[in-house]
Amino acid sequence: MNLRLIIAILAAKLAMYLSRLTGRGRGSSLPGMLALRIYPELLKHYQGRTRKGVIMTTGTNGKTTTSNMLADIMEQAGYRVVTNREGANLITGVATAYIKSGTLTARLNCDYAVLEVDEAAFPAVTRWIRPNRVLVTNFFRDQLDRYGELDTTVAKVLGALKKLSGDTELILNADDPLVARLFKETGRTTMFYGVCPDAALSSAAAYSREAKFCPFCGVTLVYDFYIYSQLGDFKCPQCGFARPRPDIEAKDVISDAAGIKATIRGSGAYGGTWSLFIPVRGIYNAYNALAAFAAALSLGVAPEKAAYYLTKYIPAAGRMESFCYAEKQVTLTLVKNPTGFNQALTSLLAYKGKQDVMIAINDNDADGRDISWLWDVDFEVLVRYLNQFNGFICSGRRAEEMALRLKYAGVPTCLLTTERNYRRALDAALHGEGAAVGILATYTALWPVEKILGQKAERVSNSADRVPSVS
């Protein structure tokens, strides 16, 4: 019997109880933090405690969505799952998830742990918990003041993967050269997923494209086409490093107001063709669903079932959540880096009616204190479709700077308003003349905005039920 372990877990469980009692916070990190203070080696007691295995998802964008989609699939397939929903993805959040599901002596009654793990926290978490599968979504620049350069982030994940003993398998995005390289550098058994090259998806937005150079020989990568940022059909003209052939590939991807439809083609051990529908928009969500689908297959879930369970996916807070206010469709999206923001703008533009937009930018620690990245976002695309917008309301601690960015992108100042107060900003957006409302917020602005929005508007759980009454 390990007394320190029990005290640590007891303290964490007490903190969870108190946080529920007082209704303060979501209690997804603090209990773990407390437990790790008392007993830093706590996590090692959970190694090997899940009956069937541990699947970790890391990368820059899409961790929460992919991991939640996978956890949903596994739970609907009848397994008991430990998971850290809501994006608490540092070592403290992982500890909280385990403590919550386990007993005072760290016993678990679970089949799988489905965990999202922050790239920077990945080495620390994998020091204690050995994953059976590691899924990597993509690598983009994100919060430079916290993480350092992109090279550093990739090196952290790569280093941790190399250190892992045993037969950990990888599930990698074939379309991102920064992710695909992990196969070559670790030599681990790998399952690739990707989106089939298709002219209809190709994007010309070259800004904030990362990784122009081959990671192995440094020459400029050649692309047959781009999907977004550095994702696409790449090839190094010198050493032959190229987009691997995906085991699971999506083709005929269509993203419209109802969600994403695609055909999935599996090859090799996963041969077959299945149709996929998820009730969320955006090509990046097609990648997230594809990743979760691939991971579920690698864990033995039948493909038809995995595809069916995905149709019932409900987005987590800020991952393109839908609300309804006075027959207006309101979407709330978390933005945290240039690539994610560009994708959010693409989703806004997919709505062809007139809309009001609210953008809330904070610069607290959790958002990244440096907001320079806003200048790498391609707001210039908005200017070509200005007739689709009734107005832009900028909010949060850096409301003024957001307005400035839009002005320099070419948005006329008569369409710009700044309103630091979330409630007033939200009111202005909801009561605008647009037929729809798009809300984009950085991390620490998201929760308060979601809370106010939840009081005013009706949450739409699944867009299949969201057919507007007027149509």
Binding site: L144, I371, W373, W375, L404
Partner: protein, 240 residues
């Protein structure tokens, strides 16, 4: 027609750097001044004398090494253009590169281009955070706001600074100075959106570029209410 040279945008686009080029171009556009941007990447032919405004941003270490090697071969043309009044804005890594050398934590000296007489040494801590500095532009005192994120500490060796630090660390966290100035060259650690948020500096650079070509440097007044709001919001937050 003013011509802007954005040097190595492929390599040095670390964090919001393109905001500076955007601000220069937009403020010319809004005044009806014809302006054109040329992007010069590794190995591209470049005639520095043909440009009116040269922008050099920051990059990660590996990219800066590539850039330094490429630029070394072109330093004579660059030096001549600078002496002839070429307007330059150099940020972070671009700033360090214009100096004499960068001394690594191991004590190794990586030579810079030597256009300006300052030098940089690796510090034991990284300076990260918001900055306010006071500078004088065309005889007028102006407060500039921005964000710094650098490990290197720069010592000016008697060179004129861009300004004095009112909030933040600046060149080295010790002497209260930020950036460097030499002829029409402006260097700063304030990366990302330095020019958009500081329209007085942007206009100063535009005026210098016009004057160098023999045009009247009196610029039409623009409505800067959004710019001033962003600038004032940070001044209020940081200085009060």
């Amino acid at each position: 027609m003013l011509t802007v040279c954005h040097l190595y945008p492929d390599l040095l686009n670390l964090y919001g750097d393109r905001g500076n080029v955007l601000a220069f171009v937009q403020r010319c556009n809004w005044r009806g001044l014809p302006v054109r941007v040329e992007e010069v990447n590794l190995g591209d032919p470049v005639e520095f004398a043909d440009y009116d405004f040269l922008f050099i941003g920051g990059g990660s270490d590996r990219e800066q090494t590539l850039m330094a090697a490429d630029l070394k071969a072109r330093v004579t043309g660059l030096r001549a253009a600078v002496d002839n009044g070429l307007v330059v804005l150099a940020i972070c890594g671009g700033y360090q590169l214009l100096g004499c050398y960068y001394r690594t934590p191991e004590g190794r000296e990586i030579p810079g281009l030597g256009l300006l007489g300052f030098y940089t040494e690796a510090g034991d801590k990284r300076f990260i955070g918001n900055v306010v500095l006071e500078t004088e532009l065309a005889g007028k005192k102006t407060k500039l706001v921005g964000f710094e994120n650098h490990g290197g500490q720069t010592f000016l060796n008697g060179l004129e600074p861009l300004g004095s630090v009112l909030y933040g660390s600046g060149n080295n966290g010790r002497d209260g100075l930020e950036g460097a100035r030499y002829k029409n060259v402006f260097c700063s650690y304030l990366h990302g959106p330095l020019l958009p948020k500081n329209p007085a500096l942007t206009d100063h650079l535009i005026a210098l570029a016009l004057a160098r070509r023999g045009y009247a440097s009196q610029l039409a007044v623009l409505d800067d209410s959004v710019e001033n709001m962003a600038n004032q919001a940070m001044l209020k937050r940081l200085l009060s």
